[in-house]
Symmetry: D2
């Protein structure tokens, strides 16, 4: 009977996993770690190597503490790193661990799955959608979630697929998960719909892609029988990058007050904040022109993460927010989603 515990840890630089080393030293079993989701301070683009650096450092640490080879660990623990801590965002990582000795009636469960190796360029198409949907179903089974309605959030990471394909791969991963959850009809979840059909989306899928990823990786969070209670996950679609009411709503759904931000006494209960968003492709937000998409000095996704991240961090109370750009099929076009996990007690 398992209990999910979630640890939000700081990093001094992308090669720094000393906070996890300390946590393991203080008693967290290294082999209880099931997934890691984090933000590193790179640029978030194809030439962002901070994700690979962190992952290599993490796997070497876990290899040292578990005796397993780094490659074997990397093949069973999804490590979803997103580069880019623009503005007020703070580099950090969230460790999901499972204590098998405890449990309860029903609680927040985690399940993971890896897809098969992906041939170069084989992303952004129907094959990726099918692959990811299958991996999501496998992760649900791993968590013990039978009904897609029980899934609170799916995190997907897919290979970038090469220059020019990164956003397509993000879209394909999102569509695959949305298909598995039943949030998009199977007949419409096609390769042709990717990046085109903004009306097809799931507001409980966070997808990304990276050059250092070789297989689709999936983490599913949701309610399942037998898991210990104590964690709540709230998730809301955001209509646009300024949707402050939706942000507050996600925090409230996780059991926190917002007045207008989370009160300092409740902030230690926060376990993870995860968001997706994207620069509105119409070049306008609520009728006013934005300049994110035409700036050749700063990548549009960097603009977006800095802005959206700040809106969420202002409600959360600090900058430990996982914000990732490229939100196709993850919430409405020009918007996205925000998920909050909080403990019922600090």
């Amino acid at each position: 009977m398992p209990r999910l515990t979630i640890h939000r840890l700081p990093m001094a630089h992308p090669g720094d996993v000393s906070a996890l080393a300390s946590l393991i030293g203080a008693g967290l079993p290294a082999d209880s770690i099931r997934a890691v989701i984090g933000k590193t301070e790179g640029n978030g683009g194809l030439n962002d190597f901070t994700r690979g650096y962190f992952t290599q450092s993490l796997l070497h640490l876990l290899a040292e503490r578990t005796g397993e080879a780094p490659a074997a660990l990397g093949a069973r623990i999804p490590c979803v790193l997103s580069g880019g801590t623009e503005g007020v965002l703070s580099p950090h990582y969230v460790v999901f661990a499972v204590d098998r000795a405890s449990g309860g009636e029903a609680g927040l469960a985690i399940g993971t799955a890896f897809g098969p190796p992906v041939a170069p360029g084989d992303v952004g198409n129907g094959a990726q959608i099918a692959r990811v949907a299958a991996a999501v179903r496998a992760a649900m089974a791993d968590a013990g979630i039978a009904d897609p309605a029980g899934v609170a959030l799916v995190q997907v990471k897919s290979p970038a697929g090469g220059p020019g394909l990164l956003l397509r791969s993000v879209a394909g991963g999102a569509m695959g998960a949305a298909l598995a959850l039943g949030d998009v009809p199977a007949a419409e979840a096609t390769g042709d719909a990717l990046l085109e059909r903004g009306d097809l989306f799931s507001a409980r899928v966070s997808a990304s892609a990276g050059v250092e990823v070789e297989r689709d990786e999936v983490v599913v969070l949701g309610t399942a029988p037998g898991w210990a209670p104590g964690l709540r996950l709230g998730v809301r679609a955001m209509a646009d990058a300024l949707d402050l009411a939706a942000v507050q709503g996600a925090f409230r759904d996780a059991g926190l007050d917002v007045a207008p931000d989370v009160p300092p006494a409740q902030r230690p209960r926060l376990r993870a904040v995860i968001a997706k968003g994207e620069p509105d492709r119409t070049h306008r937000i609520r009728g006013q022109r934005h300049t994110m998409l035409g700036d050749i000095d700063i990548d549009a996704q960097r603009h977006l993460r800095g802005a959206l991240g700040a809106v969420i961090a202002a409600v959360a109370g600090d900058g430990r927010v996982f914000v990732s750009g490229g939100a196709a099929h993850q919430g409405p076009p020009g918007g996205g989603l925000v998920a909050v996990i909080a403990a019922e007690e600090a």
Copy 2:
């Protein structure tokens, strides 16, 4: 007996003043324009020429419509342009005009003043502080505001003073205005205090500096007898870039609801939103490390504007927010201030 009117206008690019041309064509007397404050889509640094381009375009338009020479107009109309519309921010400009034919018991008044020509490099010192303080007093007199307590907001723009001096010049302008308002004691408002004494600040001063500026320019807004009622200005200090409660407070002080943002029906009443902020020099915000100051790909002020601007825009309801970095002595260190002007009726 005057009435202040404020017009918030879009620009399609930094040389586009067609919205003002239309407004003049529709009846706004060109010679009633007293000041312009705007955001252009440059990078906001020493090599941002969008401010000069907009100003040149503006002055040519006004010259054509008033018959005055561009240089003469530039010497009497403060044009405070701030580069950088990162994230959700939208390029726009706010035109302050005065209709001499109306008036009332007391209302929001405007006064302007220009200092003498500044020798290259003569910024960031006691001389600048004295020059700016004198200009602020002149602008108060111009507005008819006798008591510094009646001043709601001062906007200062000073010459950049050359490479490496830009932030010092911003600090000097802020300190000069703070001195004139009595928000900082005269004995402490010295050149040595600039950028060092974070405890010395005014939360009703917005200062900036630019390479294209040759003299200190000052705009004072506040309550004065004889001016028409109908506009309200709220201003709040922000403790840090995430101070959402302060942002909401400024909007409330201007007579607007926040739930959590300004309701759509009230948004047309917004006339101007002006904010200052800066990347926390401790490299931390609420205990969490930020990376703004160590990123050589994106200037720290661009990071800050994108983040702070988004927090404010999320409350305002759109991205027409004047956010400017370099907030030394304008609100507390690591924080800044936010000012909101709204009409009582749309």
Copy 3:
């Protein structure tokens, strides 16, 4: 009987045309100016407004000195500004003027032409190719050059056509000029060939595009009867961005020594250095991987200009080199061309 004179002038910032004002003050007739080609210190992308700022400043100056309206001047004087003075490059502009009172047997001639207004988006297709080809023929006629073999260099600037179309517009302009010169067969100079058929190019065409441009603008330089002698133009294709031998060849063709650079005593004879190049799309140069195309912090064209500009400047002896990226159909793929104009006497 005309004489072409060429003046290479510095600018302190993109709004600075004081050097030309001085030249006019010293006797250059303002109405003798036929074309201006220059480099401004913007980023060279869609959000580079330094080109528009310089052009506005230039036209206001010429309007003041000639009595013509700025718009009328802009409609007859091609102003080809390229943003981006990366690395050792220096902001400058080259003014081409014609003295009608002198002349000779045959010499370097200039001709200019403007195409019709271009509908938004109507670039990068067969229509643009035909429009530009016609404009090139008109400019040849204006110069008095009957045979395309007499053309030494064509400079084209076309409207950017909107987001995503900039490089297509450059390609269309280049193809149109190549067609007019007979360097590409008419049957192959089609819209489909743009950016696809790297084997179709002219090594005597320099093309660019800009958001501020509304019509195709063409400048032709070549040998024509009746023009005064004294200027020589050398042009060479560059096989890649490291083609130092080709660079030296162009300078030698213009009558200068290279040992390995132009000797200091000959440098005052330089009148203009114009080059086009592009990051090799194979991601390799001479078998070694380059990283220009995958860097989201620095635009690939900025990388290219900085590198190619330095190679040419090292031969020229200083950084007053017009280097523009986007070299499709202007020299071989991955390479480009370099043109040098020098006077026979200083």
Copy 4:
């Protein structure tokens, strides 16, 4: 009796050491490796983590192949990584290995040394100068070079020392090495002279600094008795970033032809090209204004590396050039130096 061998290897990304793995697999003894100097594709600034990533990857590989711990290897093998492959530069690394079984009358020798651990911030002062000078003397002894005149090139890497100190640390490392070589008088090699006394320099010292470095690391190359012949090292001061004649001179001194570049048949003989340079602090190169120092979009050192690297690569024949900015006291102000190592046979 030793022989120095030098291997120039490609990397597909900053974590890729597969080329070295192959070389070891093909027979290069892993324990023969004495130093590694390389360029990674980061931004070269404080937030460039590609250097640490590569170093971690390298040390893990060598640990696996030698059985020594990564930390122990890092404490005896200088790994001098410089971030930034702007423009035509190509990510690569140069491995210096020593075969103890061979030797000769006299040849190119290598010696290395590490200084003691450096306290945070203890760079850019007299202490660093003394520390580095001692380390250079130790490295000379290690190589068997008794007379400083026999030293051809010193490579130094020091800790960055924290925000704002990076360029000071580079200067301190350079001055320390210059002192040890006798190129700067002991009485003048003081902390006060750093970054101030441009007249104090050595044209055979390449220094850098990095956030990931904890101790001063030194590599000395020069002629010593008993080492095998077959490698030649040429080094020249560059008067400025356009000093093409100096670049050609260094290649000639290494025994290669330049016509104007190294002929293709000789290029396989190249073993390493190492250069230092900096943006001229006067804002001018040969009288023309450059814009590197005022661009907030691209770091000045990135501009410089792109430009200087291209000039050198154009002579070398490809982009495998180690170019590092921050050249204080390494060649004349505004200039720098270039060193070339070539084998007498391919």
